[in-house]
């Protein structure tokens, strides 16, 4: 088993520039040298995933994980998650909700739609860096990805 297999490609859906910068910085500090594709709202995320609009010709490989913010303009993270988990092909991609606050109603909906993980961003930046590291280790090394994806990736 490839224990040190890094996450090759991650999709980050986040509308706030500051958050994008901090998240990318946290990735950098953890030497998670992956490709992070950033989309700025839910509708862009769906375009990306379904290869529509400006993402029609994006690379074959699907992301290893999707980090979804909940509160985004136009189409929010919950809607993206719902559509994604209903798609026969895309539903196997692990989705991590990466959000600012912990609301019971959000948690219930996310798990109802079939989210793989729900992470509340810590207030403290150092903690956030540790948090990103843990996520990278878990989804990149510890967790076994679904076989189809592996085949597709190979």
């Amino acid at each position: 088993m490839d224990k040190n297999r890094p996450l090759k490609r991650i999709l980050l859906a986040e509308d706030n520039e500051n958050d994008i910068e901090l998240t990318l910085e946290a990735f950098r500090q953890n030497d998670l040298g992956n490709v992070v594709d950033v989309v700025r709202d839910g509708s862009e995320a769906l375009d990306y995933l379904f290869r529509r609009g400006k993402f029609t010709s994006r690379p074959e490989m699907e992301p290893d994980a999707i980090l979804l913010d909940i509160k985004m303009p136009r189409v929010d993270g919950l809607e993206v998650l719902k559509v994604l988990k209903q798609d026969p092909v895309l539903k196997v991609i692990p989705v991590v909700m990466l959000t600012t606050s912990r609301e019971d109603s959000d948690l219930l909906k996310c798990y109802d739609y079939g989210v793989n993980s729900f992470v509340v961003k810590p207030m403290d930046f150092a903690e956030f860096v540790r948090c990103v590291k843990t996520m990278g280790l878990f989804w990149g090394a510890l967790n076994e990805p679904p076989p189809q994806k592996k085949d597709a990736g190979a």
């Binding site: 600012t100 606050s101 207030m123 403290d124």
Partner: protein, 474 residues
């Protein structure tokens, strides 16, 4: 219950009708009997007088010739009248001349003639009547008669009267039943309507109004009252629905507000902290130590503000979230809280005195928060006391449970008691004791949601006692 109610008013009306009938029949009969008695007595007296006249006339010869034997024979003719008991003839000077007695046991015959006329006694009547011959008095006739004929006649009358009374009462009873139905029927209808309204709480039922007398008016007034209750009831229900909708709306708005607060206020704070951190890392090699200090203050302040927001949201949630009410053993709950608290105080020595508590009804998690706040306050404010002591117990009260948490710590000035349970109100400076001032506000909100009260006593430097009243288990 319905049947006694029913029979009561019907019986009362029947009773009134029967009593009135009885009294009027009885009075009529009494008058009739009295009249009959008087006329009959009169007739009897007349008959007696006529007989006396007759016998007297027959005796004139015997008196004139002093023939006592003839007189005696004449008197014996009175045997034909069964009511005559004794009779006598007196001579001119009033001396006894001849006598007659029906039986040997009769009363004695007066020895001399008394004054003329008829006298009535309770058991007999007596008659003295002159015996005349050619316009001059030659003697006196005496007859005493019993009331035998009257008795027998009035016995018959009595029977007739009783029969008549019974008959008329029976007829009156039949009428009374008919008539009372006319009166009691509408009243009973009204009573039935009132009962079914109060039982079914259906205010659209109406009483029958089929007369324009007082009962009809009563039924109409009753219906009008029902109409008013009905409309008030509907109005009230409408208002409850409206108010509930408004409350739900307000609650939803509040929820949306707190959701947005928790999202939109925290994110910039996180950015503030994050970039301050990055800035500090970048400036680590700079000479000015203030740069590190300032960035530290920025990120600490951001964290502190985030904590305030969290606490405030928690406080708002505590007021809205649904209560899961159950029986709560306060002994277990307090033991749990104290156990957790003890493990968090490290080396500090506190003498705990936990007395037996009671059961109450409430939400376990919320009540736990109450005691967590009170006990952690007690621990916090005894932090500077030499021999910290915390006591938890019960104030005996009949209708509720009153718990207290008492400490010998910093205490507070009773002048500021009003601020004690307010949100973000503090009675100590931050450099004295840590805290943001929401714990006791939460305690009050939770206890009030349980229908209880919180209050406190304290003295600066001597300690504080916090009281919490909670409902009894039912």
């Amino acid at each position: 219950m319905a049947s006694t109610y029913r029979s009561s008013i019907q019986r009362k009306i029947t009773f009134v009708i029967l009593t009135a009938s009885f009294v009027s029949i009885a009075l009529t009969c009494a008058c009739f009997v009295a009249y009959e008695f008087l006329t009959f007595t009169q007739r009897m007296a007349e008959t007696l007088s006529a007989n006396a006249q007759l016998v007297g006339a027959n005796t004139t010869a015997a008196l004139s010739f002093d023939n006592k034997r003839d007189a005696q024979d004449n008197l014996r003719a009175l045997a034909a009248l069964p009511s005559v008991r004794i009779a006598a003839v007196y001579d001119k000077s009033g001396n006894l001349f001849a006598t007659y007695a029906r039986t040997s046991r009769e009363a004695p015959i007066p020895r001399t003639a008394a004054q003329d006329g008829i006298k009535f006694f309770s058991d007999r009547m007596i008659l003295f009547q002159p015996i005349m011959l050619d316009g001059s008095r030659i003697g006196t006739m005496f007859i005493e008669s019993g009331y035998g004929p009257i008795y027998s006649r009035f016995t018959t009358y009595g029977f007739i009267v009783i029969l008549v009374m019974l008959g008329s009462l029976a007829v009156a009873y039949l009428f009374a039943r008919r008539i009372q139905r006319k009166i009691s029927g509408p009243i009973l209808d009204l009573a039935d309507t009132a009962r079914s309204v109060s039982e079914s709480r259906n205010y659209s039922i109406r009483a029958k109004v089929d007369s324009d007398d007082e009962i009809g008016n009563l039924a109409a007034a009753f219906n009008e009252m029902l109409e008013q209750i009905h409309s008030l009831h509907e109005d009230l229900e409408q208002r409850v629905i409206q108010r509930t909708a408004e409350l739900e709306m307000a609650n939803k708005e509040l929820e949306a507000f707190s959701y947005s607060v928790s999202h939109d206020l925290r994110a910039p704070l996180r950015h503030l902290g994050g970039f301050a951190e990055l800035l500090r890392e970048k400036c680590n090699d700079q000479q000015d130590p203030n740069i590190v200090r300032y960035t530290g203050i920025i990120s600490d302040s951001a964290k502190k503000m985030a904590k305030l927001i969290d606490e405030l949201l928690e406080f708002s949630r505590m007021g809205r979230s649904e209560m899961k009410t159950q029986v709560v053993e306060l002994d277990d709950l307090v033991a749990e809280v104290v156990g957790e608290a003890k493990s968090g105080i490290g080396e500090r020595k506190i003498s705990w005195n936990i007395r037996p508590l009671a059961k109450t009804m409430g939400d376990y998690a919320m009540l736990k928060l109450v005691f967590q706040n009170l006990i952690s306050n007690a621990i916090k404010y005894t932090g500077k006391a030499d021999d910290a002591a915390i006591e938890i117990g019960l104030v005996p009260e009949p209708n509720r449970i009153v718990c207290y948490v008492k400490d010998n710590g910093a205490g507070f000035d009773m002048r500021f008691i009003d601020k004690l349970f307010g949100v973000f109100q503090r009675l100590h400076r931050l450099d004295e004791f840590e805290g943001i001032g929401i714990g006791l506000a939460n305690v009050r909100r939770i206890v009030e949601r349980h229908g209880g009260k919180v209050w406190a006593e304290g003295e600066v430097g001597k300690g504080a006692t916090f009281y919490v009243s909670l409902p009894l288990t039912n």
